[in-house]
């Protein structure tokens, strides 16, 4: 197969060249090709003029095992399956929108017509909004009425924007490939829907079943997708993390699904610090930072890289669990600051110095914070804990917790003499 393919390749290329030349519309449209491989193929063809295919084989087109091996030796791995590459070699290079299937083309016509209509509606809606904004408040029927009207119209406009793009197969493909542009409403909408379908449900379940929500904060209605990394390892919700792994400062990936930028406070709280004297549990704040800007496009937050002058109030304290203590839940909360206004860093820093007796509830009430995201991991005693304890100078490093003996109830005779 390889031989005849090799032999027929120049001929095929010639034929394809003439084909594409014969259809000018194709050439014009090929600027927006559907498959990246097809693009690469075109480039390869232009290269083929100058260099022979054997000298520099294209990883997306090579199909003979000998050439593949040679490429692998060079350190380039071929793309896709051999069957696919062989099929790509002699496929007509037609962009996705122009694939010659009648039903598909009719369907595209319907969708494009609908999109035109939606675009028209969008322009009229935005005109309406600008007109209403120009009208003075007294004529519009009071400030409240005008505000609510504007709000409703903007919501409708956002909805229209999503509707205009939701039927585009290319948008769908891009989103599925993870190349969606989060500054556009349609991709934000799709990402939000996907998050709510699975990950958010898991999050809510974990934080309620592990009692994080009544223990640390009274309510939490997460609206942002949060991922936590120690080094390069993503931590699943509620996973047990080794003490040595959690000794390094975590990184966050906070995906916002709103358009506007937000300033948030990030706090990591451990509600399970054993207190032997009290015969109960204490809280401990492992991390606190304020005025962290997040938006839909800039999602990465490295907790070690936040500035100590304006953001980080309490630096990261590696969580350790004493031997014998029940597992510690390390809950991370992302709290939105009111109206996205920055807090006064110096005042907060002066006030919040104590890690042990700072409740997140108090902070929430004091600075008017609203929880918008959460994450959770757990720690317990393991082999590396001792080392970490020594590094951070944990006070009760050489102590261990043992179960307290329960005093049995005094024996009560089941049939005393009065029964007989």
């Amino acid at each position: 197969m390889a031989h005849c393919e090799r032999a027929s390749k120049p001929l095929l290329q010639c034929l394809q060249r003439t084909c594409t030349k014969g259809l000018p519309s194709l050439q014009v449209q090929s600027a927006r090709t559907f498959q990246t491989t097809a693009l690469a193929r075109e480039e390869a063809q232009t290269e083929a003029k100058t260099q022979s295919f054997y000298k520099s084989p294209d990883p997306s087109l090579v199909s003979s095992p000998r050439l593949e091996r040679r490429m692998l030796r060079q350190g380039i791995s071929p793309i896709g399956s051999r069957r696919r590459r062989a099929a790509l070699q002699d496929s007509a290079n037609i962009p996705f929108e122009q694939l010659p299937y009648q039903c598909f083309q009719e369907a595209r016509k319907v969708l494009l017509g609908d999109r035109e209509e939606k675009l028209k509606q969008i322009s009229t809606m935005s005109e309406k909004i600008s007109r209403l904004e120009a009208v003075p408040t007294e004529e519009a029927g009071g400030e409240q009425a005008k505000k609510s009207k504007l709000r409703a119209m903007e919501l409708h406009l956002d909805h229209l924007k999503i509707l205009a793009d939701s039927n585009d197969p290319l948008v769908k493909k891009k989103f599925e490939d993870g190349q969606g542009d989060m500054s556009k409403p349609i991709y934000r909408f799709l990402a939000d829907r996907k998050w709510r379908e699975y990950r958010r449900k898991i999050l809510v379940q974990r934080i309620t079943q592990m009692n994080v929500v009544p223990d640390v904060l009274p309510h939490c209605e997460p609206v942002v997708d949060t991922k936590l990394y120690f080094g390069r390892n993503a931590i699943q919700l509620g996973e047990f993390v080794n003490a040595s792994a959690s000794a390094m400062v975590p990184k966050l990936d906070i995906q916002l699904f709103d358009r506007d930028e937000k300033l948030v406070t990030i706090a990591v709280v451990d509600p399970d610090v054993p207190n032997v004297e009290k015969d109960g549990f204490d809280y401990k704040m492992h991390y606190l930072a304020v005025n962290v800007p997040i938006s839909a496009t800039s999602t990465k937050v490295d907790l070690s890289k936040l500035s100590t002058e304006s953001q980080e109030i309490l630096p990261w304290l590696p969580p350790v669990a004493q031997k014998g203590s029940p597992y510690h839940r390390l809950s991370l909360f992302i709290l939105e600051q009111k109206d996205s206004k920055p807090l006064d860093f110096a005042a907060v820093k002066a006030k919040e110095t104590d890690r042990d007796n700072t409740l997140l509830r108090t902070l929430q009430a004091r600075y008017h914070l609203k929880p918008i995201g959460a994450h959770l991991f757990r720690t317990k005693w393991d082999e590396t804990t001792e080392e970490v304890m020594r590094q951070i100078g944990f006070p009760e490093a050489d102590m261990e917790l043992r179960r307290k003996r329960v005093e049995p109830l005094p024996y009560k005779r089941r049939n005393p003499s009065t029964f007989r």
Partner: protein, 189 residues
């Protein structure tokens, strides 16, 4: 049993391997055992491979009389029937083909939604024009709304004016029994 491919058959001939007829549907308990065993032996063998591979590759638990951990019987059965050679394979599209399919599906749904909306709007228009006509009759006829009130009395509408059998929704397809030629207007009492 499917006939062997000629290559395999010739190879079997060369190596003197008798070709016997295997049953078309393998015995179910055999399949169960295989499906149960295969996931458990996999990690074990791979773990051993990292160190020195021992003589026996069978898990000690599996070798015992009770057998290894048995999975859920229902899941085993589902897997068995889902991947049986007589079960049709799932419909699989390539990426582009799936996208084309999706496009057509979305267009069809959009078209239907548009049609529904048009019908709804048409009904709404009819109802509103009828209502405005009634309103006009009530206020603009100049008889104090007497005509309107008369027209709103519905007694005997179907009995006296239109036969009740015709007072049905107009349908696109004919009725099952066709035209009833024997029908006569019922006698007025």
């Amino acid at each position: 049993m499917r006939p062997l491919s000629p290559v395999l058959a010739s190879l079997a001939n060369v190596f003197r391997i008798p070709i016997s007829q295997t049953p078309a549907r393998p015995m179910i308990n055999r399949i169960c055992n295989e499906t149960v065993k295969s996931p458990t032996t996999g990690p074990v063998t791979s773990a051993i491979q990292q160190s020195a591979r021992p003589f026996s590759t069978t898990n000690a638990l599996l070798k015992r009389k009770g057998g290894g951990p048995r999975g859920d019987r229902r899941i085993t059965l589902i897997r068995y029937f889902l991947w049986h050679p007589l079960t049709p394979r799932p419909l699989r599209f390539s990426r582009t083909r799936y996208l084309r399919h999706w496009t057509i599906h979305r267009a069809w749904q959009l078209y239907q939604a548009q049609q529904r909306r048009e019908q709804q709007l048409e009904l709404q228009r009819q109802w509103q024009s009828m209502q405005s006509a009634c309103e006009e009759l009530r206020t603009g006829a100049g008889d104090g709304g007497k005509l309107f009130r008369k027209s709103m009395i519905k007694t005997g509408v179907f009995r006296d004016l239109v036969p009740i059998e015709y007072g049905r929704l107009q349908t696109e397809s004919p009725a099952k029994e066709g035209w009833n030629h024997e029908w006569k207007r019922p006698e007025k009492r």
